[in-house]
Subunit: 412 residues, 2 copies
């Protein structure tokens, strides 16, 4: 037996006035999702805990069966891992933005006009020569997509108990990074990061790429904003816990990083971009193919979350309908006599607030030995009447692995 | 007010192709169970946690209100207690099998042809004279039913952190018992057990009973396989927690041992055997009678689990129908104005896999002040729609004791 877990990122929503107080899932045309719900067993999940809005990283940890409250150690390491950097246990990692500041370090644009990859790459290259004054600490810096980048601090006596330099909004000054506890390590690390921020700025502000950008009327990428200090979480790989081979099909580096930490294989899929224009069918094909070799496959689609953050209701509905056609392909091609297919969301993202919200998400599992229920439609409200009741996100993985006969009996 | 808890061991199942994708409970003729469900309040329970297959011992601990994850300390002590041995806090106990090995210690039959009690008793008697080389350690050995036996190691400096000698399958060699941690005690205990295993074998292989067995064409019981090292769990008796008098009606020694540990009275019922041929009515009568004296009575029927482990679907349905007639007697004879009657299973046992599975179990409670719901049939899927929702196993006991007014208010 195998298990496929399909996650529509931020696919759940609240009822919207624009949709006659229905949710995007409720109004979307989704025959395959409804089929899954009607032959399967449904429920709702509090991914972290009732009312708590999950991050994308903690949500994925929970859906892989980990207790995120206990194991989460910041976002940074997942970003670095997801981008292919080999992260060490002692590394402290950051999610970074190329951004634009004025001469008083006031943030004018947190994304430096969503700088193109080519410009960002040249700027990143120029930062490599920088030396940190502390002799035993090195850094790795890599631009990823557009304004996004990762920073890895490597050495001994480092701590992730430090604050962000990213103020989170324009119109505020770049923040001084401060230790968040009394340790020598936190003070030491904060000092290094403030030094690096200054040195990055000195090189960036004079860089020819930025002079060209200004000449073209684009905002210069003259600062690196840091946030989400994180270390590798101490978790057992899925393979060790359940004795299964596990594969991740996802484009978003944060999700890839979490799956990598859990010991999963990462597939690269042509045309999978983490945007609304991603190649849904290529991902579906890759997932079905991965099921030949792996016992457990996670298929993550970022698009509904992107639409929700933009408050784009119409796009969210369209994207859900595309996921439904992706699911149709999967239900046609997968060996359904041998496969448990599960559909859920990692969190509710509200098209009104544009934020992750703590409302529960719908869940449907179909497969040979599920106890099917009366639910005939996949949605936030219909699934709440299902046979699974209300679960926690971290319960899903043992439930799936139990169907695969991979959960050890507790007791005799 | 009183409470009767009826546990059908392994009574829940997954939908079975042979039953038109219904479960044995769903197809069984069970008017009394359905009556209980329709006048009562229903729900489903994860006995340990969602997806986690419970053992019979951890499941019973949970159903008695204990947090099995915290208190469980192995199977052995329950087996010994259930057989009537007075177990001390410092004892380390084992579930044992009389088994058959060849000259290379390869296991040929893990049950020595399900050796008859009379043979096993004579063999057990001959082992009593053995002396352990460690001067301060003694052992008690008792055959129980057929090939089953218990071993209690008594002395100071003993540890239960040791591995089994039972390889669990035929065709493998008897395992050397090894310490599972770095302690002196674990190493010491493992040494004693390897010595005992050798000394048992030396006596058994030359024993006249075994020579007669071989002459009759039966496999000789020439080794004792050990597993499930356990000590008494540190738990408060039910009487102390809730101030109730509690009684157990069960034939299976493992279940009797758990109930004994929880401070319950153990009833011996004529004809109660722990098999499909057990005297259901005698158990029902004993339970109703026990309710005159006790506030809480647990009535355990092993039969559905036995049928499931054998993959015998027809027998499982029949056994459920017998339990239904047992319930009919109880509903006729008990004082229903004064009694909460509860029916559930301790775990799902699949007739397909023959194993305990982590799927939830159905639950129904009837009694004067329950908030009845719309459920009209007792089953895995119908109960999922009930008014109790989805509970954990350890929640049931406080719920029942609350109806009896026996749960202390928390706060002022």
């Amino acid at each position: 037996m195998k298990a496929l877990l399909i996650i529509g990122d931020g696919m759940a929503d609240r009822p919207l006035k624009e949709l006659g107080w229905k949710t995007p899932l409720e109004v979307a045309r989704k025959p395959s999702m409804n089929h899954l719900a009607s032959v399967g067993v449904c429920g709702i999940m509090d991914i972290i805990a009732p009312g708590v809005p999950p991050g994308s990283d903690t949500a994925t940890l929970a859906l892989l069966g980990y207790d995120a409250f206990h194991v989460y150690s910041g976002r940074g390491a997942f970003e670095a891992l997801g981008w292919g950097i080999k992260v060490l246990d002692s590394d402290v990692c950051f999610r970074c933005n190329f951004a634009t500041i004025d001469e008083n370090f006031m943030v004018l644009d947190r994304r430096a006009g969503r700088i193109a990859d080519a410009d960002a790459a040249k700027l990143a290259e120029s930062l490599k020569a920088i030396k940190i004054s502390a002799p035993l600490v090195k850094f790795l810096f890599a631009n990823t997509v557009q304004h996004r980048a990762v920073l890895v601090l490597r050495g001994s006596k480092l701590s992730s108990a430090i604050s962000d330099s990213d103020p989170g909004t324009v119109g505020e000054k770049v923040l001084e990074i401060k230790p968040l506890d009394e340790s020598v390590e936190a003070k030491f690390t904060a000092g290094i990061l403030n030094e690096l921020t200054q040195k990055f700025h000195e090189i960036l502000k004079e860089h020819p790429v930025n002079k060209e950008r200004v000449a073209r009327g684009q905002p210069p990428a003259n600062i690196i904003l840091l946030r989400g200090a994180g270390t590798l979480p101490k978790i057992k790989p899925i393979g060790e816990i359940y004795g299964v081979d596990a594969t991740c099909v996802a484009a978003t580096s944060l999700i890839r990083g979490v799956c990598k930490t859990a010991g999963m294989h990462l597939l690269d899929v042509e045309g999978a971009t983490g945007t609304a224009q991603t190649n849904y069918m290529a991902k579906a094909k890759a997932a079905v193919k991965a099921l030949e070799k792996s016992d457990f496959v996670l298929l993550h689609v970022k698009a509904p979350d992107v639409a929700s953050h933009d408050g784009n209701i119409k796009q969210k509905v369209e994207v859900i309908e595309k996921i439904d056609r992706m699911l149709a392909y999967i239900l046609n091609k997968a060996d359904l006599g041998e496969t448990y297919v599960t559909l859920t969301a990692d969190h509710t993202t509200s098209c009104v607030t544009g934020n992750h919200e703590g409302d529960p998400v719908p869940l449907a599992i179909m497969g040979p030995y599920v106890r099917g229920d009366d639910v005939e439609e996949f949605g936030e409200r219909t699934c709440a009447k299902g046979g699974l009741g209300r679960l926690k996100g971290k319960d899903l993985m043992p439930i799936l692995m139990n169907f695969l006969g991979k959960v050890k009996k507790f007791g005799a």
